[in-house]
Amino acid sequence: MRDIDHQDRGGLLGPLKNLSFFARQPITEPLGPRPASANYRGFHLNDWDLCIGCSTCQKVCDNAAITMVRVPGLPEDPVKGIRNLRPAIDYGRCCWCALCVDLCPTGSIALSREYVHTCLDSELDSYFILPDARGIHGTPYPKGWAKSTDADLVALDRQPMTEQAPAERIDNFAEIVAGYDANQALIEASRCVQCGMCHDACPTHMHAPEYIRAIWNGDLEGAVREIYRTNPFAHTCGRVCTHRCETACSVGHRGAPIAIRWLKRYAMDAVDHERVKQIAAEGRADFISGKRVAIVGAGPAGLTAAFDLVRQGHDVTVLEAQAQGGGMVRYGIPDYRMPADRLDRDLDVITSLGVKIRYNTRVGVDLTMERLRAEYDAVMLGVGLWMGRSTRVPGADQAGVKRAVDLLRAVAAGESIEVPQSAVIIGGGNVAMDIARTLARLQQQHYGEVRITLTALEDLDHFLADADEIREAREEGVQILDARGPQEILMREGQVAGLRTWGVRSIFDQAGRFAPSYDPADEQIHVGDLVVEAIGQAADVALLGEALTEVLQWHRGRLQVDGQGRTNLEWLWAAGDMVRGPDVVSAVADGHRVADSIHAYLSVQEHAP
């Protein structure tokens, strides 16, 4: 390859080659500003409406260039997963790698095409900025490197959860959800960016980032330990919690939220039950306080308080009207969602710490509140919402018309019930779905066929039940008719034959409050041997007796309690569904607050003589 001949000395006219350069453009760069490329990584922009202050950008920055700054006045909503923090960038550290952009869950942060900033020595602080959509100098430079599907590093997709198909599950009460295996759990746990929105949104502030991280690290006992810091109903919440955490998850803003509930289920199932009991006992007081606490109702609120109080050294007795503990978790939620044997484990952990439960003991019947007041130093009520409401349409008092809570209780207690060949359910909430799907299974077992009609006042878009419940109920053969108002129970030869309903024209008034209007011309008859009402529930407070009821303070039908669950009587607390409406994890949170309050009260009760 002798194309470059070093021996070629050129000719005499060689230097004249230079003249050709006069005709050429000079090789130089323009001094004026030049626009940067479309993908340029310049100074930061941040859309404050999209930004949720999750701090993921701060975590991934390799130069610690990002500081999260609290900006008062910005929206702050733990339930939705929004913080009033915004990232500030120190350009003395930033290397413009754009990892913050690629890992931002919402896609709010971007790099612009602006790249020039100069200042005097005295203005060096101007290199530390709190970027918003207007950019470092407030001049409108377009976005450069911004969120794109190519470079998006956020793990948007969730590990799918295997569930039983309708045909497999319709004739049994086995748990529908299969749970994650070790590999799925590892991958799902790895999606978490550890922002802590879940912790803020959880009613009992579970340490979800910690237990997710522990699962990812393979430290399952550590995960159980983190779970038990705030929630002794771990198996339960790992299956049926309303997962506010997932609603607030920052990854969930654009992708699927981390499956925090399924991860909790995984960790609890993976650790040996005896070991769980040992972990739950860690940190308990090694003394007995000598104080006695009575708790009415062995549900999530009562037993969480019992768990805390017994660990603090107090003597706790729980009085439970039913034959087993768990409250609505056992007697309201069917096995296919919440297997009883897992609930038994949660309860076993609590009783193994020394909590005494007296079953088949109904306060108000077997013993009075006055006696509890006399024999115990503090009393807590956690009696739940066990009275099913009725529409009280004509015929609602017939034998063939039942309340969903009563039926579900009977099925859970193992009592045999008369399985109707066809049934009509009134109601559109989760309880209605529970009873519909329970009866569907019983029908399949007894008759080989499901004939269930479910009617509700609301239209489908406003059903109170979870979307998954509605979908699964349909898959199991429940016929769902929305926007229908019950008018009358139909009878034939003294037996319930069905329900007559009118169509609901509109549900909400202009103010958005519930105010249905009917259309009598749109009348339907729904055939059924059994009509089940699942429209609402109330607390059965008859146990208090008239005298106590008069002394207590009430607020719109519910016991009035302060922020710690205490009534106006210094010895009486109330918590859970009866006080704040139905939700397991909120009941757990209540239980903790009540336990703290009782413990503080018991700790100062004795005075020096």
């Binding site: 108002g485 519930f514 105010a515 139905p582």
Partner: protein, 167 residues
């Protein structure tokens, strides 16, 4: 004097002066208020708030009508009301009026209250239909709309109370 009774209907219909019509309406509201006031101590304390709230509502209706009756110039507020009628739902149509019984619960009290409002509304409506166009007819329409609004408020409260806690 019991609202809904045929005698009251005739009583109003025989009136011709606006002020006199309002006086009768006031006494109706007062009788309703007294009913709820009497009911309050008879019910259990946890639902006493309902009876007390209803009594207070009736008192405020009474005060409104009293104010109109005593006002020298009562044409304007009524005219405004006539132009914007309230929604008339049939929700409480579907609520069947029970016997209140000795120890009514919150659902029974609300059903009864809605029924009372409904009957009052119907009465004022039929009075309006039977009156020639004019200020008295406008007054009946106004009163009917007021009762409809009261009934609508009770329907919302009924839903929140009875259909709550059902997840």
């Amino acid at each position: 004097m019991i609202e809904g009774h045929q005698g009251s209907y005739d009583r109003i219909k025989s009136k011709t002066s606006l002020k006199e019509v309002l006086e009768v309406a006031c006494s109706f509201e007062a009788s309703a208020r007294d009913f709820y006031r009497d009911l309050a101590p008879k019910v259990s304390k946890n639902i006493r708030w309902l009876a007390e709230d209803l009594a207070a509502e009736e008192q405020s209706h009474y005060d409104l009508l009293r104010g109109l009756a005593d006002h020298p110039d009562i044409d304007e507020p009524i005219a405004v009301e006539v132009q914007t009628p309230a929604n008339n739902t049939r929700f409480s149509d579907a609520i069947h009026l029970p016997d209140l019984g000795p120890q009514p619960d919150d659902q029974a009290v609300l059903q009864y209250a809605m029924g009372r409002e409904h009957i009052a509304m119907e009465h004022y409506q039929s009075l309006a239909e039977g009156t020639a166009p004019g200020p008295i007819r406008d007054l009946f329409v106004y009163l009917a709309n007021e009762e409809t609004k009261h009934k609508a408020e009770l329907e919302k409260l009924y839903y929140e109370t009875v259909h709550s806690g059902g997840v």
